[in-house]
């Protein structure tokens, strides 16, 4: 039978605050175990949590960027369960009054746009980290991550393929990073994803039984896990069996999901309002103040770049992959007045070098001003496009200004016709047999002569002038 997959995703994003959600401990990743703990995040008796205002601001930013309705009254709830990653015996989260609901983001899929609904966004605290001893029956607990602020973003079951799922995640990730509220580091767990997937016969409206997938730490693994799980469920259904509603763990090295056994007992979290934390009331003024501080989002930027700079959608997509890259391109485009050239240099040489040296845009040795100066020097004929490649290399190595490099290395283009004429005469004289062949009709040799002139001038000859003079001389 032909099935249609139905996919919904839950994302946990760590917020980039300096301190934890309910205490002043640092949120910095990679510190010595338990060095960022205090009586509040250790859940000592008698302590009181106090909410970090930045957490609410950041969460509102994401809610606005994903077109959600923000609830004016927010209540904190205790989610009760026993596990050693949680020293209090409950996680402080939001339950029936989350921060925001009913939003969406837009995906561009092969030329068409599809909206993926956002069911809700709520704030909560992260749990600690357990390391299980491989030999002894013990686990080591590090509470540094306990109390790091999270937002949980729950999508509607609107995705119909693993590709759509991965695309949704990439777009959500991009928005979080653009807003500068999450560093998006999947390996360090700043951006985590669980997936719900079910199958139903094509054309059917009712959802099938779903499974929940966990433990995928990259976009690629989310897609792979979904692909595997869809095949597995299809096999189960085709055999006339029923899919069991359960949580399954993705195993990266095996490329499979398997059931988390021993968790059959249904969770009963007994949510109730946390008496230690008063409600958060979000006024319209506060929302508007935050709305005013939102940066241009990736999708808007992409559309503006296409319109304003006349670059193709693909280029606009590459150039807006990060805010730093987009800002760099835009500065070069404006300063040089040549957006297409700016886009070619940034997408080609600049990104190529950044990738090769594994550098972030922020670490780029070439400043936007220097690159636009270089484009200006090509435009006004000081250097040729070919020499510009060498100048660029030198700019990358030394971080010097293009003018300085051109002067130091004597790379200024030769545009003096009489000087070039002399060189051309020499070239023709030294290649008399080719000249003869050319005159007999071997037109292709024109390129050979241009090449020889370039060689003789170490690439500094202005190609346009060389062409003109050669045409004249050879047509005689």
């Amino acid at each position: 039978m032909e099935y249609e997959p139905v996919i919904g995703l839950e994302v946990h994003a760590q917020l980039l605050t300096k301190t934890k959600i309910f205490c002043g401990c640092s949120t910095r990743f990679g510190a010595e175990p338990n060095s960022h703990t205090c009586p509040v995040c250790l859940g000592m008796p008698g302590v009181l949590p106090v909410l970090n205002k930045k957490v609410v601001e950041y969460a509102i930013k994401m809610a606005l960027a994903t077109n959600c309705t923000i609830n004016s009254s927010n209540v904190w709830a205790r989610k009760n369960y026993f596990y050693p990653d949680l020293p209090k015996g409950y996680q402080i989260s939001q339950y029936d009054q989350p921060l925001a609901e009913h939003g969406y983001i837009s995906l561009e899929l092969g030329g068409s746009t599809k909206r993926i609904g956002i069911t809700r966004i709520h704030m909560e605290e992260d749990a600690g980290k357990l390391i299980h001893d491989e030999i002894n029956p013990v686990s080591y607990v590090d509470y540094n991550r306990t109390g790091v602020p999270l937002i949980e973003i729950v999508s509607e079951p609107d995705m119909r393929s693993p590709e759509e799922g991965a695309e949704y995640l990439r777009r959500l990730h991009e928005i979080l990073v653009y807003l500068e509220i999450c560093d998006g580091n999947m390996e360090e767990g700043s951006f985590r994803c669980d997936a719900n997937v079910s199958l139903r016969p094509k054309g059917e409206d009712i959802f099938g039984t779903r499974t929940e997938l966990k433990n995928m730490n990259s976009f690629r693994n989310v897609q792979r896990a979904l692909e595997y799980e869809i095949k597995r469920q299809q096999y189960v259904l085709d055999n006339g069996d029923a899919v069991v509603q359960e949580t399954r763990l993705w195993n990266d090295s095996q490329g499979m999901t398997h059931s988390m056994r021993g968790k059959e007992e249904a969770h009963d979290y007994r949510y109730f309002p946390d008496p230690d934390l008063v409600p958060v009331v979000i006024s319209g003024d506060w929302i508007e103040e935050i709305r005013g501080s939102l940066p241009e989002l990736p999708l808007e930027k992409r559309e503006r770049f296409i319109k304003k700079y006349g670059i193709p959608p693909y280029d606009a997509g590459v150039l807006t992959a990060s805010r730093a890259l987009a800002d760099f391109f835009e500065t070069v485009a404006i300063k040089s007045g040549r957006p297409k050239l700016a886009s070619n240099w940034v997408m080609g040489d600049l990104l190529g070098h950044l990738n090769e040296d594994k550098l972030l845009m922020e670490e780029c040795p070439i400043r936007a001003q220097a690159l636009s100066d270089m484009i200006g020097l090509i435009e006004n004929g000081t250097i040729s496009g070919k020499i510009a490649k060498d100048v660029f290399e030198e700019m990358w190595r030394s971080a010097k200004d293009p003018k300085e490099i051109i002067e130091e290395k004597g790379l200024v283009q030769i545009t003096d016709s009489s000087a070039l004429e002399a060189v051309i005469d020499q070239v023709l004289k030294h290649n008399s047999s080719q000249l003869e062949d050319y005159r007999k009709g071997k037109d292709k040799l024109f390129g050979f002569f241009v090449g020889q002139v370039m060689k003789a001038t170490k690439g500094k000859a202005n190609p346009k002038i060389v062409n003109e003079i050669l045409q004249k001389k050879l047509s005689k």
Binding site: P33, T37, L51, N52, S139, V278, P279
Partner: protein
């Protein structure tokens, strides 16, 4: 009865509590009384009133995102039944 002994046993299990037979009886009867009292409260007319999550009208108690000193690791671990100098040690529970 508003509540059964099975329900008490379920809640006790969720809270990791172990009761004797006489305790079960005692708590079942006590919780029953509490729930009966709730029935009386339920008779109050609350039409047009927003449910409250807290007894006070306070809201928006915030702190600024300013780092404070954490405890020295030795102090954090001081009351732990077992530790290895930087981490708490617990029996292995793989979820």
């Amino acid at each position: 009865m508003k509540i059964t002994k099975d329900e008490i046993a379920y809640v006790a299990h969720l809270a990791r509590l172990d009761f004797t037979e006489s305790e079960y009886e005692k708590f079942t009867s006590q919780l029953n009384d509490i729930l009966l009292y709730m029935d009386i409260l339920n008779k109050v007319d609350t039409k047009g009133l927003e449910p409250m999550s807290h007894a006070t009208p306070l809201h928006n108690a915030f702190r600024d995102d300013v780092e404070m000193k954490s405890l020295p690791v030795e102090a954090s671990l001081a009351n732990a039944p077992d530790d290895n100098g930087d981490s708490f040690i617990v029996p292995k529970v793989i979820e």
